[in-house]
């Protein structure tokens, strides 16, 4: 007979223990990423790093401002009904002219770099060019390199950017500018800028999927917001409505993060979506282009140093905390801040892409 304590506390104890372990694991990972989290009091932040304090002030202000208001009231959007349930769509426009690489230039550049063919290094390339070979197209009859040259030429002629990026990636570092040349085979409206906000590391839920596409000088930003964890599949399904056979993806660190994360979530919800396609990850190109010019290669830093200042914003690492506050308080303020953050990231990404393509 229990004379002190409560019988129903056992599961509660077990639950509390697992909760603290999950928090520990997520903090350790945040620490490793150099991020921050709600479990580290602002006190421990190095002097001069006021981001955290600023963000908390922002959060309080947002909560006050939007007290008692729903997301639908504070940001115009529509409830989107998909075959995988509903989510909230926020659509906005921004003026961003996207420079792309002219397809003719892309083709010329690709075909003039003989080092793309296996077995050819600088000396061989030099020798071949001395002998009058101008383009990989000229090499198709060559005894030794003909077969590869023909294969490469076919990829260029059919504008198979996906394969070409892989090809360049096998011969050169991922950041090699030639890989970006293949983006010239796409018209601006075929380029889909993608940025994902999530609750945490891999295998945790996605909160917002933001996509942007440009027509003329107008960038249309569509954000699919999960107002609760149950709305995530709808956001995933909505993303797929922007992807067709001719779509290429543009991301910032999407090779390592956004795309595998999305694929994992597709599999989780048994949604058939294929993101294996031409993908231009601007982080790698930005690194090569602006090495030494910015303190780090966060999107916000690039924006500040390359494009111009960014308005007051929440650090990426605080996105989960803001979302959890939103879930807990039902106050739309913190979620609004994440939506703004995501939109700014997409616009910044479009600027960076354009800037690098401009040359």
């Amino acid at each position: 007979m229990l004379i002190e304590g409560h019988d129903d506390q056992k599961l509660r104890r077990v639950g509390a223990r697992i909760k603290s372990r999950v928090d520990q694991a997520s903090n350790a990972a945040d620490g490793a990423r150099g991020g921050s989290s709600q479990f580290i009091p602002a006190l421990f932040y190095p002097a001069g790093n006021s981001d955290y304090a600023q963000a908390l002030t922002l959060k309080r202000a947002l909560i006050e401002k939007h007290d008692g208001k729903s997301l639908e009231e504070v940001t115009p959007g529509t409830e989107l009904v998909t075959e995988r349930g509903t989510c909230y769509r926020v659509q906005t426009e921004a003026r961003v002219g996207i420079h792309t690489i002219p397809p003719k230039q892309a083709k010329e550049r690709l075909l003039s770099d003989f080092k793309l063919l296996p077995g050819i290094r600088e000396t061989t390339e030099h020798a071949l060019k001395e002998r009058g070979y101008r383009s990989i197209a000229d090499l198709v009859e060559h005894d030794r390199f003909g077969a590869q040259a023909l294969h490469f030429l076919e990829l260029v002629e059919t504008r198979n950017s996906g394969e070409l990026i892989e090809w360049v990636g096998r011969r050169f570092p991922r950041s090699y500018p030639l890989a970006l040349q293949t983006s010239g085979f796409y018209t601006p409206d075929q380029l889909l800028f993608v940025d994902v906000e999530s609750l945490g590391l891999f295998a945790s839920p996605i909160i917002i999927i933001g996509v942007a596409a440009a027509v003329d000088e107008t960038l249309t930003v569509s954000q699919y917001v999960a107002r609760n964890v149950g709305e995530e599949p709808a956001a995933l399904a909505a993303l797929l409505s922007h992807v067709n056979a001719s779509t290429a993806l543009v991301t910032f660190n999407g090779r390592a993060f956004d795309v595998p994360f999305l694929e994992q979530r597709f599999a989780y919800y048994r949604i058939h979506g294929n993101l294996q396609r031409a993908h231009f990850d601007m982080l790698q190109f930005a690194r090569r282009r602006w090495r030494g010019l910015t303190p780090d290669f966060k999107l916000t830093s690039l924006e500040k140093h390359v494009i111009g200042a960014r308005h007051s914003d929440i650090p990426s690492a605080l996105v989960p905390e803001f979302y959890e506050t939103y879930l807990r308080t039902k106050n739309a303020g913190p979620l609004l801040a994440i939506i703004d953050h995501n939109r700014h990231d997409l616009i910044a990404l479009a600027h960076i892409f354009s800037k690098i393509c401009e040359g």
Binding site: I3, K10, D23, A25, G85, G200, G230, A267
Partner: protein
């Protein structure tokens, strides 16, 4: 000089091989392999093949070196030959075993011509090789730790999982107790994903001899098993000697010294010998002593002796294994690292310096002796503690006694909740469909996870909604994650976990590595670095520690009849206060240490022993300390069957007066940081446990105690003091109180 100390010789008789015919032809590809290797299959191998072909799940429990691996490799290769997409997963408890198995599978692939691309996929697999393995390997060899972290990425393994025909769990007896329960739930998660991708793999469980192989297999995998235990392999005669250094009642030399003497004796008689030692340090010391002595008399022998243990670089270990196989090493001392099936060939002799702690391990280690055509020798050197001495005096406890039960618990909330969390992060969980994977606990687990904000009930099922990686929050085993590096002039010598660093690498400690002595100059706790310098010293060191248990918070108090049992959070504090320096067994100096205590927080149950029992014990002129200690050991021995764990999962402390209770008290605690529900469950069942424990000890036919009652294989105080009669009095009193009419 030696023979006087032989307490017992058991002759395990020779036996001819028993072959059998297959009902049908073995596939030509696999036959080519068998022919080339000159192998004819034994009866148990044929039985295993037949059962697998009929679609059954099998547990193979034949002895070490009976050809267990071939028993499942043959039918699996045949299947993979017939079905070109079929895949198989092999799970091994260690990376070393995985690599060993890889070689065997590669050879089978090469000779049979069945393309299976066997690949090891574990923490050592370089990232650039991983995608290829996921998309093309048909046999993947891994371990439970890796599998645990791979499952959330199941979509990348779609091809492999959808075609999965076999899951082989080798050395499965390792997965018992809390670790086993974790692995069992990990297997449930894997099965759920297999079902999702449309496969239902057969299971092959290969294990050391257990008391309950079939039940164990069923708990581990939720399948019904056919037992393959009728060994058809041939055996030469084996002599199993119980060697008692303390036969004269005194023992002039320590058991370690005696083990070293036997080791040398065997090697000088041209017997290739493997000597198992109870610790890394002892493995090193016995090798070192043997080398030093051989240098004087038989210098050529000295170079043919080596030590083997965890902590060595993999390449070093491979080299020693290879030299053992080729016969260029005459003798190796080892920790239990060589107990599991690493291929080192058969040896002429095995020495066990001290009882290995379980009957299972004793037979596994003894099984290393025997190479087919010659007689072999296994020797257990008894230590001074009562447990070893009991075996010396009662050989039948070893040779006729039952093997341990391998226990798995699927109803432990602590363990289940963690795996429900992981499963929810792998695929949404649905009720009631998925309840079968987590019997009886799924819905309440999910509700609790929801309360903690870790799971949410959506129209797509229950979804993980936490931020961190679920798998990171769920350890499979009580392994320390704090790793210390041992550096000698900046070069990495080896790595140690935190507890080991405190115990073996405090400043001044002599650290032995591959037969060389290193002296620790500094133990840097902040950066986790042990700086050592190589010095030839003729002494070794032994730490001295105190262990205290402190009650942090009492969470529950339960009345069982008249007995009050408490349950709560405790802290076990180990303080390394100093160390001894020893030359051989002689203490030559004592130094003090200034190390912060090691703190370990866990959950415990405790109860006070009433004054009546103490008075009774005193009146009978018995020892109350020995009585409490004996009662504690016996309770721990009986707990596993009631709370479903392994006895190595629990610890205990008993004291005639504990500062927090001001009374004679017995504590029993979980051996896992934060607690894992064992003491908690025992607190509820204490009346039953006390009743059976009292019966056990009172009815035990031994005089002063034995391994079946109050001797513990893991006692930190060498089973001293112990007083069986006093223990009976204490248990009697407690059991009577607990079963006194409860006022319910």
């Amino acid at each position: 000089m030696f023979s006087r100390k032989v307490a017992h010789t058991e002759v395990l008789s020779a036996r001819d091989p028993i072959f059998a015919r297959t009902a049908d032809e073995i596939a030509p590809s696999v036959q080519a392999y068998l022919r080339k290797k000159g192998i004819r299959l034994y009866r148990h191998q044929i039985e295993a093949r037949a059962a697998l072909r009929e679609g059954k799940d099998i547990v193979i429990a034949t002895p070490t070196a009976s050809g267990k691996t071939l028993a499942f490799n043959v039918p699996i290769f045949e299947k993979l030959d017939r079905e070109h997409n079929a895949t198989a997963l092999y799970l091994y408890p260690t990376k070393a075993l995985s690599n060993d198995q890889l070689k065997a599978l590669q050879e089978l692939e090469l000779i049979s011509g069945v393309r299976v691309n066997p690949s090891v996929y574990d923490g050592d697999t370089p990232p650039h090789k991983r995608p290829k393995i996921r998309t093309s390997a048909r046999i993947v060899i891994s371990n439970p730790y890796e599998l645990h972290h791979v499952l959330p990425w199941h979509y990348k393994w779609q091809r492999f999982l959808a075609n999965l025909k076999f899951i082989v769990i080798d050395e499965a007896h390792v997965y018992r107790g809390v670790f086993g329960s974790n692995v069992a739930l990990l297997i449930r998660r894997l099965q759920r994903l297999c079902a999702y991708y449309g496969s239902e793999p057969q299971f092959v469980i290969s294990t050391a001899t257990l008391a309950n192989p079939i039940e164990f297999g069923e708990k581990l995998t939720a399948r019904s098993f056919t037992l393959i235990a009728d060994d058809g392999s041939p055996r030469e005669r084996k002599y199993f000697i119980l060697y008692n250094p303390y036969a004269d009642g005194i023992g002039k030399r320590s058991a370690h010294q005696e083990a070293k003497d036997l080791f040398l004796l065997f090697m000088r008689n041209q017997l290739q010998t493997l000597c198992f030692a109870p610790s890394r340090k002892m493995a090193e010391l016995i090798a070192l002593w043997a080398k030093n002595e051989a240098k004087e008399s038989t210098p050529l022998l000295a170079d043919r002796i080596a030590a083997y243990r965890a902590g060595y670089l993999p390449s070093t270990r491979r080299r020693i294994e290879e030299r053992l196989r080729s016969g260029s090493l005459a003798g190796v001392t080892s920790t239990n690292a060589l107990e599991l099936g690493i291929d080192i060939g058969g040896l002429d002799a095995v020495i066990m310096a001290g009882y290995p702690g379980t009957i299972i391990s004793t037979w596994q280690q003894a099984g290393r002796a025997g190479r087919g055509q010659d007689e072999s020798l296994a020797t257990l050197v008894g230590f001074h503690d009562p447990l070893d001495q009991y075996f010396m005096k009662h050989p039948s406890a070893l040779f006729g006694g039952p093997h341990e039960h391998a226990i798995i618990d699927l109803s432990n909330e602590y363990i289940t909740l963690g795996h429900v969390l992981c499963a929810a992060a792998e695929l949404p969980l649905r009720l009631p469909d998925d309840a079968a994977y987590f019997p009886g606990l799924l819905s309440e687990s999910l509700e609790e996870l929801q309360r903690q904000g870790l799971a949410e009930d959506t129209s797509n099922g229950w979804v993980y909604s936490g931020r961190g990686r679920a798998t990171e929050a769920v350890p499979l085993n009580a392994l320390s994650s704090q790793i210390f590096k041992v550096l000698c002039e900046g070069r990495l010598l080896e790595t140690l976990d935190k507890t080991r660093a405190y115990r073996e690498a405090h400043s001044g400690a002599v650290l032995l590595h591959e037969g060389e002595t290193y002296v620790v100059e500094q133990l840097d706790l902040t950066n986790r670095i042990v700086s050592v310098s190589k010095k030839n010293v003729d002494y070794h060191t032994e730490p001295m520690k105190t262990v205290d248990l402190r009650i942090v918070k009492e969470l529950e108090k339960r009345a069982h009849g008249a007995l009050v049992v408490s349950f709560g959070i405790v802290e076990v504090v180990e303080q390394y206060v100093g160390y001894k320096t020893l030359r051989y067994d002689q203490v030559v100096g004592i130094e003090s240490l200034d190390l912060p205590p090691l703190r370990f927080t866990t959950m415990a149950l405790w109860f006070m022993v009433p004054d009546e029992a103490v008075t009774h014990v005193a009146n009978e002129q018995l020892d109350i300390g020995g009585g409490l200690h004996g009662a504690e050991h016996a309770l721990i021995a009986m707990m596993p069957l009631h709370v479903m764990c392994d006895r190595w999962d629990i610890g205990g402390v008993s004291t005639t007066c504990h500062p927090d209770t001001a009374a004679p008290t017995i504590f029993i605690y979980d051996g896992f940081e934060g607690g894992i529900g064992l003491a908690e469950k025992a607190a509820e069942l204490i009346a039953e446990i006390l009743t059976v424990t009292r019966e056990l000890v009172a009815e035990c036919s031994c005089d002063v105690g034995c391994p079946a009652c109050i001797y513990s294989p893991k006692c930190g105080n060498d089973n001293k003091p112990l007083d069986k009669q006093a223990a009976i009095v204490v248990l009697e009193q407690l059991a009577n109180m607990a079963s006194a009419t409860s006022n319910r």
